[in-house]
Amino acid sequence: MHDLPQQILIGLQLGSIYALIALGYTMVYGVLKLINFAHGDVYMVGAYAGIGAAWLLGTWLPSVVHLPPLIPSPLGAVLVLLASMVICGLLGLIIEQAAYRPLRTRAWIAPALFLGAAVGYVAYGIATNANRTPVSAIIIGIVAWAGLAALLYTTQRRRSPGSGSRLTALITAIGVSLFLENFGVLPQIFSSDPRFFPNDPPIARLAPNVETGLIFTVSLVLMIALTYIVTRTRIGKAIRAVSFDSDAAALMGINTDRVIAFTFALGAALAGAAGVLVFGLQHTKFDPYVGILYGLKAFVAAVLGGIGNIPGAVLGGLIMGLAETLVVAYGPNIGIDSTYRDAVAFFLLILILLFRPAGLLGKFAPEKV
């Protein structure tokens, strides 16, 4: 047991990543009562956004302007992190506007724009594959776009607001998740080849031991920032009000749609940061499917702590990270193979839910009639 402190540090680091992703799940669940399955894939996009930003700052910028390359340097690393957070925040916003909001309201412009763009692009790609000329392929794409926009215009006008069921939203979330993964696999987008962050030189040139602690520290800073936003600002107060009772909040004059959009952006930005932290500092490979398992475990962490509860998500994440690391490190000594690593999370979950059906910090509300 001589390296126990080291193992605990690794566990906390993994746990803080789970916590960062779990925060996005739990906040969205709080305001919308929706399991946002696409959240794990936002984390994946965060890693790719980070790689793009690192390329811009390290390779492209020095070749245009006469400046010393920003990568590797602590400043460059911070810029990469921020760029990824901004891109993922925007992605979260787009996902909410294009896929989830039209389920609740009669909004049709944003979904027609973004979903239509996706449909148009896919139609264009299929036409190109079928050896159409570029011009006719573009026309096919635009026609598909317009067709979808017209369809959404007619159906959305007939929607009675607030009629969407939660299951519909869940399936939509699954659809968005599959779309992000499979769209990323297309060879002209991310392709399915595994990628690395520019490893040589690393994006922030620091000693390897420092990096282990750095993930934990940066996550901690982000969580403190989030706590500040949620507890001390106006919009944070609105978020808490909407997750407490969204109908009452709307009656009090809170623009719930704006609060929901902000929550999505906030959660997605945290997931993007997690993507850069994990793959940028650990130099492990990633591909468009990397978000599935991380997303699933982070979601379990959120449920473990009590979904909808922000401190609960952090606690759940840390517990899961520690449990997983300790099982891998010491499990073989007591006869648990390290391949059980993926089962530990779920085993813990079942155990805790059996005794505390609303998670560790969740409040169990008996149903009233």
């Binding site: 669940y29 399991i35 896929a99 039209p102 389920l103 979904p111 979903l115 996706a118 449909v119 896919v122 299929i126 594959n129 079928a130 979808l148 369809l151 959404l152 007619t154 159906t155 959305q156 006008r157 007939r158 009675s160 009629s163 069921s165 299951l167 519909t168 399936i171 939509t172 699954i174 659809g175 968005v176 998740s177 599959l178 779309f179 499979n182 696999v185 297309l186 060879p187 599935i292 699933l296 979601f299 379990v300 449920v303 979904i307 193979d337 391949t339 059980y340 993926d342 089962a343 999370a345 779920f346 085993f347 979950l349 079942i350 839910l353 059996l354 059906p357 609303a358 149903e367 009639v369």
Partner: protein
């Protein structure tokens, strides 16, 4: 329903399946086409999976995300039984995994499906128990957790090569030809669709029986159902066990169709596929779910010409369908003559009605 009508229906299904089997595998093998057979078998398995998941998700309104775990239990238990019990129980089967005639396979397939189904039902009972305490999303995630745990446990069982793929059993024997006992290839279209017909029949009978009404009452309002004297706990667990039983049978059928059994077939995404079938078909509608299962199995095959884009088209369709037709393609009603008429009227109304007068 008069008796002759009921038995007539059963005889008709049976006769059609026998005819199909004869055309496919008979001496002339008129219609034999490996690819089409493959797709059809996957359709049949999808029907069994979706209709049995519908009992839990559609009838009782509980939300299970972990049905693939029951499928896996059924598959591995069935395969282990037929492979390990080969010499004692089924000595008449070939050891090289070549296809078996219809009547030779009847008894073994009955045995392995029952074994797979019962094992899965036992696990279903275990998983159903937490549903006493948990609701909604918590139940969904706990069933998902059970499925993941089953996956990891099977991966660690060396007897069925869970970590790689189970192709059969090496046997210490002098004779080279007998040195390897493959999992017998028992499953044919006949068996798959016989079970599919059986599941649909059971689901229909259940849906329109007193028990079925109890299931629906649990779905609509658990507290009110309890107040009306329905033992909600009992019905929730019953739904899980019944659904797991048929899912396990599907697993056993699947295991005896594949020449090797790999844990890759039981990933959590497969659970989601089945849930999507149930929701797209319309929760609780047996005919709708059946049609959706067939459509969603054929769709990827139909999209094959567009190569890498087919994986993108499927989720896009899903999102657009949920936006434009949230009650599922066929709604919650059963597909019937009256239903068709209603749909035609509403489509006609689509063109005439002004949107302001919703």
């Amino acid at each position: 329903m008069p008796l002759w009508k009921r038995f007539g229906g059963i005889a008709l299904v049976f006769g059609l399946l026998l005819l199909l089997d004869h055309l496919l595998y008979g001496p002339s093998r008129v219609a034999h086409d490996q690819y089409k057979e493959d797709v059809l078998i996957r359709c049949g398995l999808a029907i069994i999976l979706a209709v049995s998941l519908n009992i839990v998700n559609g009838f009782t309104g509980q939300f299970s995300l972990g049905h693939i775990g029951f499928y896996m239990v059924g598959a591995y238990v069935g395969a282990a039984l037929s492979t390990y019990g080969h010499t004692h129980l089924f000595p008449q089967l070939p050891t090289d995994g070549s296809p078996v005639g219809l009547w030779t396979s009847a008894l073994p397939i009955l045995a392995v499906s029952l074994a797979g189904g019962l094992a899965a039902a036992a696990i279903g009972f275990l998983v159903g128990l937490p549903s006493l305490r948990l609701r909604g999303d918590y139940l969904a995630i706990i069933t998902l957790g059970f499925a993941q745990i089953i996956l990891v446990i099977v991966r660690n069982i060396k007897a069925v090569d869970g970590a790689t793929s189970f192709t059969g059993l090496p046997v210490a024997s002098q004779d080279q030809a007998l040195a390897h006992v493959a999992t017998p290839h028992l499953t044919s279209l006949f068996w798959v669709f016989l079970v599919a017909a059986l599941v649909i029949w059971v689901a229909y009978s259940l849906r329109f029986s007193v028990h079925g009404l109890a299931f629906l009452a649990v779905r609509e309002d658990e507290i009110a159902a309890e107040a009306m004297g329905i033992n909600t706990t009992r019905y929730k667990v019953l739904a899980f066990v019944l659904s797991a039983f048929f899912t396990g049978i599907a697993g056993a059928l699947f295991a005896h169709y594949q020449s090797s059994l790999s844990n890759e077939s039981f990933r959590f995404e497969r659970s989601i596929d089945v849930v999507v079938m149930v929701v797209l078909g319309g929760l609780g509608s047996i005919s709708g779910v059946t049609i959706a299962a067939v459509l969603l199995t054929i769709l990827p095959e139909a999209l094959r010409p567009i190569a890498q884009y087919r994986l993108v088209v499927y989720p896009l369709l899903l999102v657009i369908l949920m936006l434009t037709r949230p009650q599922g393609i066929f709604g919650r009603e059963e597909v019937s003559r009256a239903w068709l008429r209603g749909q035609l009227t509403s489509i006609a109304g689509w063109f005439s009605r002004r949107p302001d007068r919703v």
